[in-house]
Amino acid sequence: MAPAEHPPIEHPPVRLSHVTLVYDGGVRALDDVSLEVARGERVCVLGANGSGKSTLASVICGLLAPDEGAVELAGERVCADGRPDLEAYRRARRSLGLVFQNPDDQIVTSVVEDDVAFGPENLGLPREEIAARVARELRRVAMEGYAGADPARLSGGQRQRVCIAGALAMEPAVLVLDEPGSLLDVRGRAAILRVMGRLAAAGTTLVHVTHFMEEALEADRVLVMDHGRIVLEGTPGEVFSHGPELSGLGLEVPFAARLSERLGLPWTCDEQDVVRKLGTCFFSQAERDRPAAAAAQMPTDRPGLSRSACEKKHVPNLRVEHASFSYGRGTRALDDISFEVPAGSSTAVIGQTGSGKSTLLRLLCGLERPDEGRVVVDGHDTSSRRGRRAAKRSVGYVMQHPERQLFAETVEKDVAFGPQNLKLPAAEVERRVSRALETVGLADRRKDSPFTLSGGQRRLCALAGILAMGPRILVLDEPAAGLDPRGRAMLRRVLARLSKQGITLVQVTHSMEDAARADRVVALDQSRLVAIGTPREVFSRGNERRLREGGLGIPRSLRVARELEDHGWPPLGDPLTTDELVAVIRARAERAKVPVPFAREGKC
């Protein structure tokens, strides 16, 4: 046991050489991967779904043995020439920690401190030692006040921190985090990143697998995987300078890097850096050239501002009037909410976890009736049973992780479930299934089992099952949660297509960028409506403080524009998307005749 706990200094905690792993069915999940992780290093592994990054995580924490190659973990030669040494694996695992996506699957008891103690108990440590470690690790993840709590009552982010404490309590030589934030909201993810920063500073060796590029910026080294191979490797700066290659791999470059590239600025991953560079160059010019700056302050042309959808059609097909709702006798989940959704428009509902967003959606699709006030869906008041039944017919409800409702042997059978329940003739069922699969782009997979699809495709398949019901209104609860960039892009295209077909969209989202693309935004905080209107109105300067109090931000482009204005730029007219921001910066710079590189037309 001793060598496992104190491996000699010269051994790196992880060393893989020429590792290949093939799953049943011939999928090469890892293909000739060689990797060494040094003590105290923070390595980030990036890759789209199916790139092999999760398999790599399992190999590094000793849960999967490769078919070829050699593996050394925590100073143990666990695998040589594809022959695993099971005893060595057992010893090595005692010094390896793992935290993965779903905190629910990792918590084994119903009391926080017992769960953190579970690992050390399995290691056979003395009681006093376990107690000391539990207290220490709960403090480290800022959960010391919850030792006696029931994990089921904690938020997803808090539960994931309990899982991290549980792994740390085993004092691992390496901590592997496999997409720890992919099922969490923005706040939960930020808390996990803070904990990781603290761990890295304390010298813990970290291997972090993620598809959020922004999370990789703090790493010492970034690996990018594709088809089981490491295709890019280097510091975050080096890796993210390969923008086009990364998009080709189904990943996206951090916002600041994308912006600096499109403006022709020296490459950077740091948003503040972009603001500083733009800010100083305009400011010094503006000082010399006041009249030009004044000219630039003229009323602005707003690129991409056509919000035609909501002006064209005024007929509301969803109306919420002073609606309140509570589950049982507790506090109110919704308190006096009123708004209208015009037919054919798209509405984004934003708010923190627990602000009442999901409850609002349940009211809109007639799953719950308001305690007070009214919800009118397509002309049907949901306070009556008949009204709710009618509402259920006109609204398609896409719950969180809708792929969990898939059940049939083939994609087409699953999509046909709804229309068949409507007792439609076979020809009509067939027509609807084909049309729905066409819309989501799965027409060529209709004979496959839904369980063989990728994560993003599974979600689209579930969406097709709801579209086949022929809803006029589609209500979606965080439709992009847990998808990789490629899946998110796929979903965004499908939703745009539906909007064009005239379907009314209401979606809960955590992404302010997605909200900025909607016609209207509804912002909730603590069960109440805090702001409503077009994205431009909701994200206006006057609302900024209120949104911040509700734990909400503003779109990144707008944030950069505001900071530039604070640095002396003339008003930039609230750009909501990167395209708008780039266009308006160029226009201003040209008008003010600022001789800077970003003024040139180019890689746009």
């Binding site: 990792q106 017992d114 290691l123 107690a131 049939a408």
Partner: protein, 263 residues
């Protein structure tokens, strides 16, 4: 939404919480048997006093206990009505058409209802004051003789503990899936038995798939945390038999003796 209240632990600093789970289980079992043997008012008084004292000592609010037994109150009501109307001993107290209520019926209804209520409170107090870990550790220790004859005593306890942990998760998922499928026109409360069974398939299959996913994740987590069965495991909460356990045992014995003397 389905609400599962069974097995919810209520944290409080009380002697009942700190009591060794094995002793707590044995004492509760003895008390339960005793309660079901209660047959006269004096015995009932003693039993009520015993349960009430335990409740007070445990510092669990009575509301919490009530909430956890609420699903069974309907059953309790039916039981007492049954006794009221169908026990035909003693004098007739009241007559309502063809139904007559006898004094024996009233007594039986009161006794059965009280006994059953006491048993419910005792059972729910066990769950409210004992964490699933303590329970499974206690089972583990009590079942350890089984391991000696080759039966998986520890594993049974572990499975029990994991079941307690995953029931609420699966219940939440089941209610989400039922909502989703019923919005796609799945009818779960219409038609004959065959149709009903068929209509439940979309829910059951989806739930099974979800259960398998959880099982997959759980096995990964158990491996990563070096769970290899009961051997070599230590426990954060030491199970020790001390003065508190002795007192609890003596008090329970006193209850039994008192009930026997009053019989």
């Amino acid at each position: 939404m389905l609400r599962i209240t069974v097995g919810q632990y209520y944290a409080a600093p009380s002697p009942i919480h700190r009591l060794d789970a094995r002793v707590k289980l044995v004492c509760a079992l003895a008390a339960l048997v005793a309660i079901f043997c209660v047959s006269n008012a004096a015995q009932l008084g003693i039993a009520v006093a015993f349960v009430a004292a335990t409740l007070l000592l445990s510092r669990v609010p009575a509301g919490r206990v009530l909430a956890s037994v609420r699903p069974l109150l309907v059953f309790l009501a039916v039981l007492s009505l049954f006794n009221l109307f169908f026990v035909r001993t003693g004098d007739v107290v009241a007559t309502l058409g063809p139904v007559s209520i006898t004094s024996g019926g009233v007594a039986a209804a009161a006794l059965y209802t009280a006994r059953f209520a006491l048993a419910l409170v005792t059972g729910s107090l066990i769950m409210l004051t004992t964490t699933p870990t303590q329970l499974s550790d206690a089972f583990d220790r009590m079942l350890s003789p089984l391991s000696r004859v080759g039966l998986p005593g520890h594993e049974i306890a572990m499975v029990f503990s994991l079941m307690m942990r995953f029931v609420p998760t699966l219940a939440d998922e089941a209610s989400a899936i039922i909502d989703a499928q019923s919005l796609r026109g799945g009818a779960f409360d219409e038609g004959g038995p065959v149709q009903r069974v068929r209509s439940i398939v979309p829910v059951v299959v989806a739930l099974l798939a979800s259960g398998l996913r959880h099982a997959d994740g759980l096995s990964r987590a158990l491996d990563a945390r070096c769970y290899e069965g009961g051997e070599g495991r230590t426990h954060l909460h030491e199970q020790r038999l001390g003065r508190r356990e002795l007192v609890a045992g003596l008090l329970t014995a006193a209850l039994l003796v008192a009930l026997v003397l009053l019989a």
